[in-house]
Symmetry: C2
Subunit: 369 residues, 2 copies
């Protein structure tokens, strides 16, 4: 028999729903929700909103006050056991007198995983783990990827006509997709830890590559005040040192990390094709900048490198119902394939219309090397 009751499921679902309210702001921390229930009633609840601010459990305990004594706490992620910017939540739950802690999943960081549970159990608290684990994992694909692999989760955004062209032969591309599709991009940018692009793209479009609150979907704006807007860091491959302070990129106050072989914020080596080593860049972003989630907006050259090096976790492709002709610029550049078996297979996760355009979300299925 399951150790979880229908009431347990209901409370954990509620905690997962709360956790989602942090998706635009928690980076580099995970999204976590917590509900405290006593005798079949919710007495406290909360979610983690922002690094440096209280964890979900703290909000829920503050709300519950004395009613936490003898209660059950439902948390989407193992409560922390270490002193960071806040004292450990496991200690907080012990002091608050909760009787039982139900968790969706263990902390994925192998150095801390399980310690929170041990601390609680040593204090005599009943701990049950694994309720709605899959749903809880889906709250934090990027945080989990960094914790489990030391690499960020990489989403590649592309836009093309229905015949796969990203620009005309003369380079013109404004605009292929609709206003609605371009605004849709904003809510993806807003969830990322970093936006990766190239100086070519920045110079061609004089792109800001920031999140514009006024362009976020209305349902996002309702829960996300303009004053708490978090800007992803902009990571720009600038090998020829072309970026300069006149660009719009430098007009907005979110931070910029330049990438080159030398004289840049992040210096990476060249690979055997004399290109900047993207795998090294991603490792540095994860290890030194706590970047969970990279959103890539660039041209065919970078897209091709990422695809060929199997560094993409998800492709978000916007396709406009337009025919541009095969003499334009194709999505991924030339790949030199000789056999259909060499084509890169994708799995469609989601297909929908955004305004007049199509949005398709796909996961590459990498072949064995």
């Amino acid at each position: 028999m399951s150790k979880f009751t229908p009431f347990d499921y209901q409370m954990m679902s509620r905690a997962i729903g709360l956790a989602k309210r942090g998706i635009y702001t928690t980076s580099p921390n995970p999204n976590v929700g917590c509900v405290i229930a006593h005798e079949g009633k919710v007495v406290g609840e909360g979610f983690h909103a922002k690094a440096g601010e209280p964890h979900a459990e703290v909000h829920a305990m503050r709300m519950a006050g004395d009613k936490a004594r003898g209660a059950t706490a439902y948390v989407t992620l193992e409560p922390c056991s270490h002193y960071g910017r806040t004292p450990p939540c496991s200690l907080g739950l012990i002091n608050a007198g909760v009787k039982r802690v139900v968790c969706a999943m263990t902390d994925p960081n192998p150095q801390v995983g399980g310690r929170g549970f041990n601390m609680l159990r040593e204090a005599g608290i009943e701990v049950d783990v694994g309720l709605l684990e899959q749903e809880a994992r889906a709250l934090n694909p990027a945080f989990l990827k960094r914790m489990e692999t030391r690499k960020p989760f990489v989403q590649l955004k592309m836009a093309a006509s229905i015949d796969g062209q990203t620009a005309l032969a003369n380079g013109r591309s404004q605009w292929i997709t609709s206003t609605q599709a371009r605004r849709d991009v904003q809510h993806y940018r807003a969830q990322a830890s970093a936006i990766l692009s190239t100086s070519q793209t920045v110079l061609a479009d004089d792109a800001s590559l920031n999140v514009r609150w006024s362009e976020l979907p209305q349902d996002v704006q309702r829960h996300y005040a303009e004053t708490s807007l978090r800007q992803p860091v902009r990571v720009i491959l600038d090998r020829a040192h072309q970026l300069h302070s006149e660009l719009k990129l430098y007009q907005s106050n979110s931070s910029i990390l330049t990438v080159a072989e030398t004289d840049a914020d992040i210096c990476v080596e060249l690979d055997s094709h004399h290109q900047l080593r993207l795998d090294q860049l991603f490792q540095t972003l994860a290890a030194e900048h706590n970047i969970n989630h990279v959103w890539v907006e660039a041209g065919a050259t970078l897209a091709k490198s990422l695809i060929e090096q199997q560094l993409v976790d998800e492709i978000i492709l916007y396709m406009a119902p337009k025919i541009m002709g095969a003499d334009g610029r194709g999505l991924f550049g030339a790949l030199g394939l000789n056999d259909m078996a060499q084509a890169i297979d994708l799995d469609i996760k989601e297909l929908r219309q955004v305004g007049p355009d199509i949005r398709v979300v796909m996961t590459p299925i990498w072949k064995e090397e």
Copy 2:
């Protein structure tokens, strides 16, 4: 106040549903359904199944017998008034003694439109026209286009990878799309009056371009017996007279019309680009072969000509979730566009997955010449 009652709507909906059962077999005739109701009860119903066989009204009258006297007949299209392979249905309804005839729409053929109604009215029958007209028109887009413009309705089928490639640089393309998508094509072919292709495509794939009953979707097979399978005529552009009797094309017993400048079943002139005049071909198909509906399966060259000459009514594009690289063969060939405003705009009518692939149905929005 509307002259139509809720019961009238119900009966006409039923007639429209019946008409749809003929969509694979009626060509070149229209799909028509008929319901005869007396004192709130259906006493007869039928649909037109095949040219040369009884019209929908005849089936319904046979079923109703004496109960047609004093009844109301609901027909999706104006009953005919001329002696063809069957006697005029208007006369049949008069002789059967119906009191009222409700029709969705007038016969679109300007030479006969309204004569059926006049015949009925002169016999003292109440005639009401226009109930669910839009739905009734949607039963016969191709028949209506031929009647109204003397040109066939042209559907262009294409298949590509998600990056718009129809083949690798070396010409390999088997298979880009899935078995499910290729079977899905069968139910489109089965609805067409003619399948248009080129000798290049026929030779490259040794294509049969026929309908294979065993590959039709199961829900189609249930209502469409293998023994009543109708094969569209295969129209092949064969300017260099490359077709020969060893080809699979000649193994199946459906008919073939070759097209060339001379020495072909249909001879057409060359246009200013020294290409076969497709507009002339379509006019000939409509006028001399009663072709309502052309389903095009060919390569980028023919697709490009059709698009540039604004001869396409609908594009059915299958896209496989695969990346093939921009060095393959693009969907429509080079169009030489210099400005984004020259791109050909499409309107998405339908978007869905077919097996692992995407099917998108689009209507071109032609710019003024």
